[in-house]
Symmetry: C3
Subunit: 208 residues, 3 copies
Amino acid sequence: MPLPDLMMVRSVLPWLDIAGIGVFAISGALAAARRELTIVTFVFFAAVTGTGGGTLRDLLIGAPVFWIHDNRALAICLLAALAVWVTPRRIWSDQAILWFDGIGLAAYAVFGSWKALAYGVPPLGAAMMGVITACMGGVIRDVLAGEPSILLRPELYVTVAALTAGLFVLLMLLGAPLLPAAGLAALAGFALRALAIVRGIHLPGYRG
Amino acid sequence: MPLPDLMMVRSVLPWLDIAGIGVFAISGALAAARRELTIVTFVFFAAVTGTGGGTLRDLLIGAPVFWIHDNRALAICLLAALAVWVTPRRIWSDQAILWFDGIGLAAYAVFGSWKALAYGVPPLGAAMMGVITACMGGVIRDVLAGEPSILLRPELYVTVAALTAGLFVLLMLLGAPLLPAAGLAALAGFALRALAIVRGIHLPGYRG
Amino acid sequence: MPLPDLMMVRSVLPWLDIAGIGVFAISGALAAARRELTIVTFVFFAAVTGTGGGTLRDLLIGAPVFWIHDNRALAICLLAALAVWVTPRRIWSDQAILWFDGIGLAAYAVFGSWKALAYGVPPLGAAMMGVITACMGGVIRDVLAGEPSILLRPELYVTVAALTAGLFVLLMLLGAPLLPAAGLAALAGFALRALAIVRGIHLPGYRG
């Protein structure tokens, strides 16, 4: 298996990381908007939601937490909060949080698995890392906002993260080149989540 | 004080760790079952609940997070989720979460203190580590499931973790051999929690 | 910029750290009191609330978690819990949690930024560290107690943390001596939070 080297993760595909940070940050700011909070609270929600999943990932795999020594992540969160703040609410439909969360979910499921592989985490753990970190941004946002966790929504969510991360790790195991594998897995994941949001598709629930 | 060496923790008494992971994982899957979630969400709840307390412990004491480089923990969580999924609900009484949580509480209170001692944490901190990590699995599960935290139930819970961890650390300080000390503390802790569940015994609450 | 050296942080101004631990611990014990919990649960809430913000800070900046190898922090939490337990409730007005939380907010916003600077975190990250760790003690307490997060209260809260941490980091950047800078920022922050509690002053909320 060709382990993605960390330099490449940082230089070739930073957009997945930025996408994850930015869209989760927007979803956090939208949660603050729904509760009519202030601009400072917008920034706080954007920063915690945008960086939460990646922070947990870095703590778990023993990497330096990515935003501590690099101001760009916080700058993205600041811009995301301002963007939501200065625009009228009607631009952001009720489902906007879901859509931005969905992009973040797909992006982080791939990027989280990838960084874990780059740190030498074995495949199963790396896939799980993609899942946990992709889902935790939204969970942290919902806990802070006092809303029911997105995990409890009926349509596919954790499943999307699991399939996305699993597909990416599998492609890497099979020797696929990094860039197409990452793009394919992220797009497939987002498409599945989009179907879940639009059509409400879901796995059967436990009926006992 | 004879510090338990890490090799012994890993080889002689892995059952405490496995018991903690497995029963917390089952309690997490049961929380998912109560909300009629899907098989993937079962696995996610099982994994986060089963590994949550130990993950926090490892982060706090600066140990590598135990399940990142060892697939066995995740495999146990997967099996626990499948076990709950394939069995009819009537097998799992309403109190089943409480009982599995209780076993996990006792097992993790001992194992958490033990691993902390093995990493050179002083006695008071080690006991606190047992308490926090034993309680946090259930707290994480309840927060994810949107249920009132188990900490707020009237009967003995944190107290059981504190007495279990305290008894184990005290026995180690007194020079007791590892295996009997661990077994005695875990059994005493589980017995006390069982009494608390069955008889509802509790300390007096604050009345101001 | 004269970086505060870690020795000085530890020796000259330990009172900010102790204040943060102690008053957050009291606010945690008061949350337990409001729910008429037991003495052991008081101690648990006091310990988790008192050490939560600083624990997150240390994990994020890669410092050893401060209370693991030093029993004083846990001892302060124990004393705080006992102090609340043995006193009648009428001493603690309904707003007491807010006031103790406010002192903790100001103290931790300064101390958190300071420790981050001492660990080489750049200014923006250090200020953010002050904000997140100052706010997270209260957030953890509210999540554990099942109450709406203090972040969602209408009057200034995150804003106070941001201004306090920002003022302190700015003063350090301008070359101000450590002790006056810390004292000034903490007092200004507490004064602002006091105004927010008493007068309910707040920034305008998002109206879309």
